[in-house]
């Protein structure tokens, strides 16, 4: 029976799924999600005051984009996330590699970084407003604080777990200590580091919105808090969905870049 009607049977555990089915199934859940949402709202099961229906949401979004210059808010938010994240990466990736490669550096920094990692970036917002005002510096700092310690620690762990036999092989081929870092530790872990950056970028989105909810006059978070005062749930949901879409796009770009940069991983 299994051979005659393979589409009707349950897949075996760990059995791969084809490309077309993968895309189809991925889209299907979005359809289900919107359908349930539409049924709940348009069917009158949920009060419109608290949850807008999908059609209102799209129309509110359109108004936001055409009449209230929401595109500029989106651009400002993207700029803040990317800016803060790049600053954090520039500091954290080299530090993480140094920590992973040199154990005294790790012994020196690891306890502090582990402690700092648990300091909630959002709790810094009021303090940072005191220090840096409500300008761009404050927004970038929130994202920086939220990302930098995470990246340092994760990169250090990845580099520290480099296969010892590869390092030993490099030494027997004439590498010195600096060469081993440059020619083995960094290229061996580059894909993992890219994956860490992709993950932490996702978290950076949370921090930017929190930073924009408090003390801001622009950005997606600012729009959402403004809409709350007007009970414009359609706009709020549109803002949240925009963040999700941007996340999806950046994820896609990261994955495409990884495929192009590290073809040996997929071989």
């Amino acid at each position: 029976m299994r051979a005659i009607a393979p589409r009707l049977t349950m897949p075996r555990p760990l059995e791969p799924v084809g490309r077309a089915s993968r895309i189809g199934l991925g889209i299907a859940f979005f359809v289900v999600f919107v359908a349930v949402w539409a049924a709940a709202t348009l069917g009158g099961f949920v009060s419109r005051t608290f949850l807008a229906d999908p059609i209102t949401m799209v129309m509110d979004g359109w108004t936001l984009l055409t009449r209230f210059g929401f595109a500029a808010d989106i651009a400002v938010t993207v700029w803040r996330v990317v800016g803060g994240f790049i600053l954090a990466s520039l500091v954290a990736v080299p530090l993480g590699i140094l920590m992973g490669a040199y154990k005294p550096v790790e012994a020196f920094l690891e306890p502090f970084v582990s402690f700092a990692r648990y300091l909630p970036a959002s709790a810094f917002v009021p303090l940072l407003i005191l220090w840096a005002g409500i300008g761009e510096t404050q927004k970038l700092l929130v994202i920086f604080i939220g990302s930098v310690f995470q990246i340092i620690l994760m990169v250090a762990v990845a580099v520290g777990q480099t296969r010892r036999d590869l390092v030993e092989a490099a030494y027997t081929l004439g590498c010195g200590d600096r060469s081993v870092v440059r020619r083995v530790l960094i290229p061996a872990n580059a894909p993992d580091i890219a994956e860490i950056l992709r993950l932490v970028l996702g978290w950076a989105w949370t921090y930017v919105i929190v930073a924009e909810l408090i003390g801001s006059s622009s950005g997606i978070g600012h729009m959402i808090i403004d809409s709350q005062a007007l009970l414009a749930t359609g706009q709020m949901i549109f803002g949240i969905i925009v963040i999700g879409l941007i996340g999806l796009i950046s994820d896609f770009l990261f994955k495409a870049a990884n495929r192009a940069l590290f073809p040996w991983r997929l071989a």
Partner: protein
Amino acid sequence: MSKLLIDGVARVFPGVHGGAPTRALEPTTLAVEANDFIAILGPSGCGKSTLLRIVAGLDRPTSGRVLLDAREVRGPGADRGMVFQSYTLFPWLSVAQNIAFGLRERRLPPAEQDRIVADYVERVGLRGFERHWPKQLSGGMQQRTAIARALANDPQIMLLDEPFGALDTQTRALMQELLLGIWERERKTVLFVTHDIEEAIFIASRVVVMTARPGRIKADIAIDLPHPRHYTLKTTPEFSALKARLTEEIRAEAVLAAEAH
């Protein structure tokens, strides 16, 4: 003067969790002449890999010293090429880039690197695979690349740590012939660690038998079989006689090792 002198080298590993220290290697002395192909034969856990790692400079002796061309070994270096049992090709480099790894470290001109790489690709029979990633190669091909990578660096001595241990019997036999063929042409000095008696007799000009832990040298037997050697050698009476003798030497050690574990 010997090419390589292992002079009273011993290795004791400190005890784990306050346990007794492990004597992996008793003071061992071995002189290796230029162009020697020495197989170090012993049961697993006899310290033969430890000895090789000390020669490579990847591990330090607790006492004794290693002299290469009368200079004491203090750390790993390009003058001692090593092939490991595990697959240690750099996965982010192609076959050609892996073979060129040591050449690039020495900053040879690119044209010179390409010439040497092409030469060794040919010698280990990997033409057409230069641009493959290690992942795309079989185990035998990966070890051939690893041998080419070590040889391309033109080391004073080659150290091979059970390089064919993870391969199937047929591939293994082919790899032995390939390595032997390269040695017959180039006459590099080789230290080859193995636990396979046939492999040791077939490829080496001298077989050093080590005892079960703590390891020390028990016998040092010259293999006077003529070169070039052909795989049919393995069925000759001379080969069988050597095999019987070495089997006797090593069996006692294997029994001891099994009892100790």
